[in-house]
């Protein structure tokens, strides 16, 4: 079957490191947006990524409006919206519960994952919408779904939005799992402490037409470890499989990949397995880095936010350095500690989630 090519033609984001332009400056300057916080857990200190005082839902609309302004569209009336989120409106429910100590006035529709698409639909009037919720791979899976739909010619325009707000449930939940870092996270570092929960919004317009500013969404794939609910397969089988399939889906060889944008949360389990997967799969040792040292882990938004970063890396032809790295645990992988200018044709961006839910997306400079 003849597949339509797929292009990312406009995007914008907001994270604790600012908008996309500010984020890329921060990444290259190795300036983290994480702050050390005790407001969520008075008894525990945690590194968190907040874009406060920006309010989450108004920021969601403004980020989306910026994508529309940058796009070749007058409106989103003929655009499918695909949201990837793991938190949805839990923060809103928490605020009501905190105030009233009761569930009575919680509006279920404001609590669900679909509150994000409902909010955007009210403002922009999309043709249709979907919400994907697979924890930390949510918006990476939304990118994959967008690619498939454009491939098939089912839609001309798809807006992928990854969005998750900070809330007590996630901060305290990750604390209960013992994976939160009290400091700014240090992905791939030997003796790293853990991850930083963060909030983020990223929106990307994916289309079947090429523009002057396009980045190609070349391939994507997913896999499931089916190994353990919270720990990845220690032999990295699922992570390797999804990267390999995504590269095949793009019609490429592993040696075509010029940069690996890692999931790299800073937890012991993730980073060890991801580094092993990259070491095993790529014989040419491409540069690998995690930008979560700058943005924190934006959970369901991470795939879309890191898609924006991957597109920017290709546009700027400049590899993102690994911030906060002094002694890598895995010495066999290529973790650049400074930004590297080089020809970057293809970038693979990884997203992994609990349950061994793995997704990889390949982006390329347009030929």
């Amino acid at each position: 079957m003849q597949k339509n090519r797929v292009f990312v033609n406009a995007y914008e984001s907001l994270s604790c490191a600012g908008d996309t332009a500010e984020l890329m400056e921060a990444i290259y300057a190795k300036k983290s947006g994480i702050t050390i916080d005790t407001s969520y857990m008075s008894e525990h200190q945690a590194g968190l990524g907040s874009f406060s005082p920006n309010e989450f839902f108004s920021s969601l609309n403004s980020v989306t409006q910026e994508v529309l302004d940058k796009s070749n569209l007058d409106n989103f009336n003929n655009t499918l919206l695909i949201v990837g989120s793991s938190v949805g409106g839990i923060g809103k429910s928490e605020q009501i519960f905190f105030k009233e100590k009761s569930y009575k006035n919680i509006n279920p529709k404001e609590h669900a994952i679909s509150v994000i698409s409902d909010t955007l639909n009210r403002e922009f009037g999309f043709k249709d919408s979907r919400s994907i919720s697979t924890a930390c791979t949510s918006s990476a899976n939304a990118m994959m779904l967008a690619q498939r739909l454009i491939n098939l010619g089912a839609y001309e325009n798809v807006l992928v939005v990854g969005a998750d707000a900070l809330c007590y449930t996630t901060v305290c939940g990750f604390q209960a799992l013992g994976v939160l870092s009290t400091q700014k996270c240090t992905p791939f570092e030997d003796g790293r402490e853990g991850m930083n929960v963060a909030e983020g919004i990223a929106a990307l317009l994916v289309q079947g037409v090429q523009t002057d500013d396009s980045i190609e969404l070349c391939g994507s794939a997913g896999s499931s470890d089916a190994f353990h609910m919270t720990n990845p397969d220690p032999e990295a089988g699922g992570a390797i499989a999804c990267m390999q399939k995504a590269i095949e889906d793009a019609g490429l060889k592993t040696t075509d990949i010029d940069y690996v944008n890692a999931h790299g949360t800073g937890t012991q389990a993730n980073d060890a397995v991801e580094a092993l997967a990259v070491e095993t799969l790529f014989s040419h040792n491409p540069p690998l880095s995690s930008t979560k040292a700058i943005t924190g882990h934006t959970l369901g938004a991470a795939g879309a936010l890191e898609a924006v970063i991957s597109c920017e890396v290709i546009k700027q032809q400049r590899i993102a350095p690994q911030t906060s790295l002094s002694n890598a645990e895995n010495k066999q992988v290529n973790l650049p500690i400074e930004a590297v200018e080089k020809e970057i044709r293809y970038v693979i961006s990884n997203s992994f989630a609990f349950g061994g839910n793995n997704t990889a997306v390949v982006f390329g400079a347009v030929k």
């Binding site: 529709k109 994952i113 491939n151 089916a226 609990f354 839910n357």
Partner: protein, 279 residues
């Protein structure tokens, strides 16, 4: 065209009893610890469809839910705000949308893509469409599709969540089907129309279908619309309390009992989606 190879359902009406834990314990006593009722319901429905059959390792799993695992969310809230305790790790993990999918994948030893789709309105249809897209594009060989919604008390809250009237009976279900591109040995062919339609477009579409086709309608379709669209076509009906993924229960019931072509129409707000089955 894609084909349905296995179907299975676990379903109950409001007022009926269903001891999911006991039923699942009979199947897999080792997989009780750390799983909650929503996860066990998911597993039980998938088992009803697949049984002991060995699935291809690369089988993908796409799971849909309208409400998700609301019970665990309430437990987390109660732990934090009423008991003033930190969340139990097992409850936090079980609150993640893809946890049930993990357990189903682990039980059947399948390592393909594992997705969870959550929304009110068309959640079953859009999940089937996802599977159809990936099968048509040769991205996967087969997909295990499931829809799971758990009956939650208080029922008034559930009705409010679903946006339905206080008089409407509720139900719960875990309905699964195995889809593949292979026709051989299949129970039915299935096609999800790619685009949602307005009512006028739907009327035009229905004028073109075969005179022998049966029509079925989703639970959000109003009586007036059903009467208007049905005309002289045979109406395939399944009695079922309301839950968001009940469309899959109806489709499975037709596959298990019906013959011929079924045109299933579902509605959400002012849009309509169509699924075609041929048995």
């Amino acid at each position: 065209m894609i084909y349905v190879h296995n179907v299975g359902s676990v379903h109950r009406e409001e007022g009926e009893e269903l001891d999911v834990k006991a039923a699942w314990k009979m199947v897999s006593p080792a997989m009780i610890r750390r799983t909650d009722r929503f996860i066990q319901l998911s597993l039980l429905g998938a088992y009803a469809a697949i049984g002991e059959k060995e699935l291809e390792r690369e089988t993908a799993l796409y799971m849909a839910s309208g409400q998700g695992n609301l019970a665990v969310f309430k437990r987390l809230r109660d732990q934090r705000y009423i008991k003033k305790q930190p969340p139990k790790p097992v409850d936090y993990i079980n609150s993640l949308s893809n946890t049930s999918g993990f357990y189903v994948a682990q039980f059947f030893k399948i390592e393909g893509k594992n997705l969870n789709v959550s929304r009110l309105g068309f959640v079953a249809e859009t999940t089937l469409l996802l599977a159809q897209n990936d099968l048509v594009l040769n991205k996967v060989e087969q997909v295990l599709v499931g829809g799971v919604d758990e009956l939650q008390e208080p029922f008034s809250f559930t009705r409010k969540t679903l946006g339905i009237s206080d008089e409407r009976p509720l139900g719960e279900g875990s309905n699964w089907m195995l889809l593949s591109r292979k026709k051989e040995g299949s129970l039915a062919s299935l096609e999800v129309l790619k685009q949602a339609m307005g009512l006028d477009e739907l009327k035009v579409y229905l004028q073109q279908i075969d005179v022998t086709s049966q029509l079925a309608f989703g639970q959000r379709c109003s009586k007036e619309v059903i009467e208007m669209l049905l005309g002289d076509k045979k109406h395939f009906e399944v009695s079922c309390g309301f839950y968001e993924t009940a469309s899959l229960y109806l489709l499975n019931t037709f596959i298990e009992s019906g013959k011929g072509e079924l045109i299933f129409v579902d509605n959400y707000e002012d849009r309509y989606r169509v699924v075609k089955l041929n048995c």
